[in-house]
Symmetry: C2
């Protein structure tokens, strides 16, 4: 099942990611509507032409005309929204999302969802250090990864539609993982890296650090500017996987420290060569 | 004392950084020569016109004509070079360097140096993931920081000359620190970040990691491609400061972990807000 332009698409939650979906899909000729918490956001989205219609509350008319609904909400809000408003979905509607954690979302939603609609979870792995619809920008999807996390309850048609949505949005690589695999990998590549960036910024109190800094420190702390409301929720909802990844990383840092303490130069070089080889491979495949 | 174009400049060690100095200074009309270990490197440098003359061994004629000598060698090689060839320096010559650690270099060199020449240490905080003269590129200095690390034994004239060299090379911010302050800060902003990047690459063995990665992980591991010969020496020569900075970071990561384990959402948000505020300030001053 392809996402053709006869499909009506509703975005619920018009922030950085929801807004970037809306801009991209509208620009490509899709009919896009939005529901979000603030009238100001709807007014802005209408004024720049990124949506055809919008409402600042869960308008039954908008919900019931949508063939595809994209949820770009915080996890807790998302669960409540489904519970409270699912009676308005059009029969046969496909629901998807952009949530950064999956285990705590996918089963609970599929458990309570009406049998005549389908939820297929998805994680577009793109972002910026700034939030809000005004900063939305579909170019953040270029070259980025898009992960679909189907379960046994999903149909091949819905998985295909969701993958096609990723293609339409311009993602470079579209893959599928189970929700648990996703959460483990995300705990490592995304959440652990944000923990590290935060700790690098909060652990040192030299007032003039910025005068003595190279690109490496700037790179490692770019993501230290983050939306604390969203990220604290993502960390807590993926707590077991994130704690596991933190432990793996701490043990590896301890291994490097032991080699440094022991003046084991060859041991240090061996870790550096492994890291260099691995990162080079990585570059080749991603760029 | 300014670096005017009547000064003859000798670069010892024509790698990524030495080569970038040579290209920049030659392009700006300075007379630049080089001594480096391989004839192939000298041939390349002459063929692209980045130096006026060069030698693959410590040629007394090249050494004795230089008013300013820039050492771009590994720390151990640098110390040996001074011991073995300092008799050839022109009286009144100024020596500087690009070494990434200072405590282990500055005092030993100033201790053994002839009294009629002066060594003023300097750290241009720029680099690339690739090494070698072929990859040298003076644009890496743009927007970067340049730190001069004088001691009581340095003259105001030499400090001024060294600062002016940083300006000529195009560095955005030129500052001075004591060698010990430098090593503490470098242990944090540069060496600790390289330790983290290496450990992120070596601690996880998912074969297809690159398919599920966002920009954050790519940013944090860009510097995981590194010259193991150079970095292992830099780590070991700055061991006490680096171990201290690792401990500070590990304690901060443990603080975040405790808040996560305790479901202390407000505590997590407080760390994230502190990190966001600090990083925003940092951006303003650096960009």
């Amino acid at each position: 099942m392809k996402l053709d332009t006869t499909k009506k698409i509703l975005i619920v939650g018009l922030g950085l990611i929801g807004g970037s979906y809306a801009r991209s899909l509208t620009d490509q000729g899709y009919y896009v509507t939005a529901i979000t918490g603030r009238q100001k956001t709807i007014d802005y989205a209408l004024s720049v032409g990124m949506i055809a219609k919008g409402a600042a509350s869960p308008d039954p008319a908008l919900i019931s005309e949508a063939d595809l609904v994209v949820f770009a909400l915080y996890p807790g809000v998302f669960l409540d929204w489904i519970r409270d408003y699912q009676q308005y979905f059009k029969p046969g509607a496909i629901l998807t999302d952009v949530t950064g954690v999956k285990g705590c979302i996918v089963d609970p939603i599929q458990d309570i969802l009406r049998p005549d609609v389908e939820f297929i979870a998805c994680h577009p792995m793109a972002g910026r250090e700034v939030s809000g619809v005004e900063n939305s920008d579909p170019t953040i999807f270029r070259g980025a990864n898009y992960v679909v996390t189907p379960t046994k309850r999903n149909t091949p048609e819905a998985i295909e539609l969701c993958c096609h949505l990723g293609e339409v949005l311009g993602f470079a690589r579209i893959s599928t993982l189970s929700p648990d695999e996703h959460d483990d990998i995300i705990g490592f590549v995304s959440q652990l890296t944000h923990c590290i960036a935060v700790c690098l910024m909060t652990c040192e109190h030299n007032e003039h650090l910025q005068d003595y800094t190279g690109d490496s420190f700037r790179d490692l702390t770019r993501i230290a500017r983050l939306n604390d409301e969203m990220w604290s929720e993502l960390f807590l909802r993926n707590k077991p996987a994130l704690l596991r990844q933190m432990s793996l990383f701490e043990a590896e840092l301890a291994r490097l420290r032991q080699r440094l303490e022991a003046d084991d130069r060859e041991g240090l070089r061996e870790m550096m060569r492994a890291s260099t080889a691995r990162r080079a491979l990585f570059d080749k495949k991603t760029n």
